[in-house]
Symmetry: C2
Subunit: 439 residues, 2 copies
Amino acid sequence: MRMEHELLETGPLLIRNVKLDAKPTDILIDDRGMISAVGREVGRVAGKEADRVIEGNGATVLPGLVNTHTHAAMTLFRGYADDMPLSAWLSEKIWPIEALLTGEDVYWGTKLACLEMIRSGTVAFADMYFFMEDAARAVSEMGLCAVLSYGFIDLFSEEKRERECRNTDKFVRFVESLENPRIRPAVGPHAVYTVSPEGLRWCAEYAAQREIGIHIHVSETEKEVRDAVSQWGKRPVAILDECGILTPRTVAAHGCWLDRDECMLLARRSVHVSHNPTSNMKLATGRAMPYHWLKEAGASVTLGTDGCASNNSLDLFTDMKIAALLQKFAWNSPTLLPAEEALAMATSSGARALGTGNGRVAPGEPADLILIDPRAVCNTPVHSMTSNIVYSCTGSVVMTTICHGRVLMHNREVPGEDEILRQAARAARALVEKAREGQ
Amino acid sequence: MRMEHELLETGPLLIRNVKLDAKPTDILIDDRGMISAVGREVGRVAGKEADRVIEGNGATVLPGLVNTHTHAAMTLFRGYADDMPLSAWLSEKIWPIEALLTGEDVYWGTKLACLEMIRSGTVAFADMYFFMEDAARAVSEMGLCAVLSYGFIDLFSEEKRERECRNTDKFVRFVESLENPRIRPAVGPHAVYTVSPEGLRWCAEYAAQREIGIHIHVSETEKEVRDAVSQWGKRPVAILDECGILTPRTVAAHGCWLDRDECMLLARRSVHVSHNPTSNMKLATGRAMPYHWLKEAGASVTLGTDGCASNNSLDLFTDMKIAALLQKFAWNSPTLLPAEEALAMATSSGARALGTGNGRVAPGEPADLILIDPRAVCNTPVHSMTSNIVYSCTGSVVMTTICHGRVLMHNREVPGEDEILRQAARAARALVEKAREGQ
């Protein structure tokens, strides 16, 4: 394969000799990046149609993973501040350095995030941050699917709200102008404690009007719930519902402190709840998202890493494992969130949440898929491939990552990797130096 | 470097151009596998002495990791049974298939475990299982350091106790006959609920007499503690203390249900407590080891993966992260078990627990060290190398693994890997088929 051309190529692609649900198969991808055929005979028939061929050599094919909550450019702050109480971590370390960010920093931070996601098998993600036009440029160049939102924070000020509405509208129009089928905008009202009810209502109406998604934090900490009750007389989910935020286009991240009624309401509204187990454990939120109540209610539960300042990795393989472990431990049940459900959170449920198909390797679906090394130690023996993927392997088991038919990584090579590592490291170093000077 | 000879070679080894604590250095290893010199001038002076040279190319050098609690051959059961209640998991799945194990199975399962540990930077481990002579043969061939114990289980029967004493003595003499400086025997009384007080006392006396270690499970589940109190009128740690099991040569695994007084007693007796966060979460033990009480008491706390049926990986990088996350979450403190302490658990504390030096890269220490890829995404940017190692990277960041001066992996190549994968997969498949036939 000609690696230097792959990112640009969009012609038909044939993947030969892979295993899907333990059965040998070939996969044909058309020039629009959709899976057009799956089966053992496909390779023989389609060999001539496809300009590009990938030899799978018995690799297992899986739907690409979907990260439904992150702040991508925070890769620049990986390891900058750990093991601190939440308030000191934010006010002494994260906010001061975020105040120094430029669009160029966000561009390189987002490129580093995309590189990390591609290398660990993630093909689509939901991002919420600042300088989002630069983030969009980075994602566009890297070739992943993304739902991008500008973090809307009005701090209950009318003046700020008007500015945030303008910023949101400007960013949404910018993304739409890109006409990139892999990148879509969403509105990003940050949370009930940072956005006024008026701001939330504006976001809900704007999103409905333009038929775009909503990306928000909900009930991450006990304090958020307590403060909402004392300030507004109701819990965060009720506030969001009154403001029209709870829709089938909404991704609500964290949900650690949801009660049973809230889980049922989120399910009725068809909201997608994004579980962020690693971040919640690292920041000691004190409670794990009640997966059993959400499942019982029939809610859509997906998986997110959160930003690299509170994880500090974007490898969803590790987070599938940590999700399955946390649910068992926190709710005292070794049968809760079995491997199959953890994998579904990170694939089919995530894909539906972000509107990138159904997260299945099947004709008619977008060709968002990854090839898994069949000769890895973590995958030996194979009593259950799903168990190995969730509990044993990490993202390093991914050999090939394909998004909408574009080969983003093959045999663990990603075009342009060295420059991204160099430029992101440089940007991160410069930010820390500036932060030190400012102290 | 000539990979095919490395496992056999023991002559002087020079490692050029690595970073130790962020400073460039060279490292010279003598023909006994000890670090003889560390410094920038070492390479120039020693270039002629060393038969073998490794070019570090700016890699970070770390002490090799130490896994203080595993059942190595259980790699064969990776993914065989997950997401089940403990009692059904043991009685319906694990015990029936363990009853079919042969020495040959344990040999290949242990080889697979060693391969996985080498690939993820572990240089030494404490094992407890059956067919331990075959395990010793596997470890000896793979070149790691290990403290091996036969799992002593008398189920309160005098006849069985006598058999277990003979088995233990036979295995200890076998290991001593190997005269392998990297492999030492220990006694392995399983736990207070599977070994009689007489059996525990015999183990303690035998270990004292021969000056060898003791490897035991303690207070893993609440049931273990409750049953001990109802049967013997005292908690497990008190029973072990009365039987002489608590010594500076003892590794006590799990400790989820330790109370504060027990933590203080374990510290006073200089016992090494092995934290097994992943296994405890997966099996929903309901409580995390009280690290804060152990730390306050000055106890030695180390890190273990437990066996692959309850983890399902031997990658201590992931388990350092999960340990740091679990402690924060379970005890509701984002400052508990910071990255530096998680790394110390897996290096210096572990090495001292198993008697393989002090887990430091310094002259006079055994050359048990690993080289970390400086160009990995998980290690970009480098605000804190320790944070990156604990929170961001997985074992796949290890390029080179050296144990007592032997190069067990270089540039991610381990001699004999393909055969181990093939034979272990075959053994695992055959066991499952036999188990099915027996049903």
